[in-house]
């Protein structure tokens, strides 16, 4: 397992699309350093030959009948939009 000081906050915050202030970076680095140091104990466990568990009761290939059902109306779907126009979500210009 990597060392806790490998946590490169700027890189990770960029991956998470999260702007952090200098003060948050400093505080989170210390707090998450503690947490990462704590989870190092998982290295003690012999996991060779052990399958990972993603769900306690795995269910696979759940199919629904291919029957159209009523969904949200356009009005409802746009009801919580921060900005909308002509049945669309409005965002700043993406392509020049």
């Amino acid at each position: 397992m990597p060392k806790p000081d490998d946590l490169r906050l700027d890189h990770v915050a960029n991956l998470a699309r999260l702007a952090l202030t200098a003060e948050e970076k400093e505080r989170f680095a210390a707090q998450l350093g503690d947490v990462l140091a704590y989870v190092q104990q998982l290295n003690e466990v012999d996991v060779s030959g052990i399958e990972p568990t993603a769900h306690a009761f795995p269910v696979v290939n759940v199919w629904a009948e291919d029957v159209p059902e009523p969904g949200l109306s356009v009005e409802d779907a746009l009801g919580n939009a921060p900005e909308k126009r002509d049945n669309m979500f409005v965002v700043p210009k993406v392509v020049e």
Binding site: M1, P2, L20, D34, V39, A56, V59
Partner: protein, 497 residues
């Protein structure tokens, strides 16, 4: 009068409603009056819609009158007219859904969660929006962006979390029962800290459709109630397969209350396991003594009590905080400020909307977990953290299943300490995480668990006993919890407010 009603159980109230001694509107009015009287001090609610609640109650009275006119006795409709508080992370059509986050401060649900649809079909009144740690991340409800809920037993202390509003509302008589969600103990721990019953069903027993996702492989909706029987009634109403949640399980929903009663009648001698790893360092001596006394009570009932071992217990918190934060970072990626949720006013381009809206919308604990989860899933670290944690999860689950070859249920403290003071752990995330030590293994293994009142500290703070059951054996778990509850009167005690 009003307070008596608010502290009655569903079984008592449904009898009175059925006999026509009480109307749903009268009951709802009493609960509204109680809420207005005490919620300024307790702070369990983010909001409530009095008119909507009274309209639901009026409709319930109408259904009852119509059924009576048609000659039906209304038996079996125990939730008809009962006000059930709703954690503000479960969608109720037309009502706010904030997750106690600035991100969703103005969000209104366009549809009902499946559990809400089922509660409404059972005739219950969906009541209020109950406070929580932001996005259900926390153990004290202090992470709410709006207010810190107080523990009704000591207003200087936390109610636990993340479903702290649900637990406090039931404890304070502001709801007859409530729904919460439990990802690592978020129903059981606050139930223990507030002297109410808290039930987390087996993963997959209850649909998660319409529940704001935190960690999808761990989240499960469950009930807060005044008695084990009431918890069974709510579970019976909300359980069942749902084609809208692909992880919900196709299993029939049994008659939990009837099944509990039949098991109690049968005089079955339960085999109960005490995991030695759960009684070590960090356990408050008064909590330990109360739980030991409860175990002795089970011995007195003729149960066979034996020590069991869950050898990977010490790795549960580390495993949980890797898996839960990984899933959280993925689930919360949807809050991008584009389609719903708050959008930063300062954003200049599309990418900027993501960075700034998320920075402004999320509180510190949510940000910490997104960062941690993104890190453990990132290239170069995935195998070392996430994959390893998933493998340790397998071992933790095996520990429980191995123990269940010897015992019917496992008894533990719910929380290592009684309610702590506000602010005591909020600057130290790791200390806060450790308060979930006895509850998170249950989520990792997908098992049902229940917390029931088992005593008080000398200072008057509630203590909870956790019973952990075998997968999908909620009836047995409820019967075991009910056997102890029937021998004690802890659950009937009320806080002075």
């Amino acid at each position: 009068m009003s307070e008596e009603l608010c502290y009655s159980t569903i079984s008592e109230l449904s009898g009175r409603l059925g006999r026509g001694e009480l109307s749903a509107v009268e009951l709802m009015r009493a609960v509204i009056a109680r809420t207005k009287e005490v919620d300024g001090r307790v702070g369990a609610f983010n909001s409530f819609d009095e008119g909507d609640a009274l309209a639901q109650a009026l409709a319930s009275d109408g259904r009852r009158a119509k059924a009576r006119a048609a000659g039906a006795d209304g038996r079996g409709r125990h939730l008809e007219g009962i006000p059930v508080g709703i954690k503000d992370v479960i969608s109720v059509a037309g009502q706010p859904l904030t997750a106690s986050s600035r991100m969703l401060e103005n969000f209104v649900s366009p549809y009902d969660a499946t559990v809400i649809r089922k509660l409404k079909e059972a005739g219950a009144t969906c009541w209020g929006r109950l406070n929580l740690d932001e996005f259900a991340m926390g153990s004290s409800t202090e992470n709410s962006a709006f207010r810190a809920t107080s523990n009704p037993w000591d207003l200087e202390r936390v109610p636990g979390g993340s479903s702290g509003g649900s637990a406090a509302a039931v404890a304070a008589g502001e709801a007859v029962a409530a729904l919460g969600s439990d990802t690592g103990g978020s129903i059981r721990q606050p139930a223990a800290l507030c002297n109410v019953v808290g039930l987390k069903p087996t993963y997959g027993r209850v649909s998660r459709y319409g529940l704001i996702a935190f960690a999808s492989s761990l989240d499960q909706i469950g009930a807060f109630a005044r008695s084990v029987e009431d918890a069974a009634l709510v579970l019976g109403a909300i359980a069942g397969h749902d084609c809208r949640d692909s992880t919900s399980v196709r299993k029939d929903v049994p008659d939990y209350v009837g099944g509990m009663a039949a098991l109690a009648q049968s005089g079955r001698r339960w085999r109960l396991g005490i995991p030695k790893e759960y009684f070590g360092g960090g356990l408050d001596p008064e909590v330990g003594a109360a739980v030991q006394a409860a175990i002795d009570e089970y011995r007195g009932l003729g149960c066979e009590v034996r020590e069991v071992s869950l050898p990977h217990t010490k790795y549960a918190i580390g495993t949980y905080y890797i898996i839960a934060t990984a899933e959280c970072s993925s689930n919360l990626a949807r809050y991008d400020g584009v389609r719903y949720g708050s959008r930063s006013k300062d954003a200049t381009d599309a990418l900027d909307i993501y960075f700034k809206s998320r920075a402004e919308g999320f509180g510190p604990e949510v940000k910490r977990r997104i960062i941690l989860g993104t890190y453990v899933l990132s290239s170069g670290y995935y195998d070392a953290y996430y994959l390893r944690a998933q493998k340790v999860r397998t071992l933790i689950r095996r520990d429980f299943l191995e123990a269940f070859t010897q015992v019917d249920a496992i008894l533990t403290p719910t929380s290592p300490t009684p309610a702590f003071r506000k602010g005591e752990k909020s600057a130290d995330p790791l200390a806060m995480y450790l308060s979930d030590i006895y509850t998170i293994g249950v989520n990792l293994a997908g098992l049902p668990g229940i917390s029931i009142p088992c005593g008080f500290t000398r200072g008057g703070l509630p203590i909870g006993l956790q019973a952990i059951g075998q997968p999908f054996k909620e009836t047995e778990l409820l019967a075991i919890a009910g056997a102890y509850e029937g021998r004690t009167d802890w659950r009937t005690r009320r806080p002075r407010l």
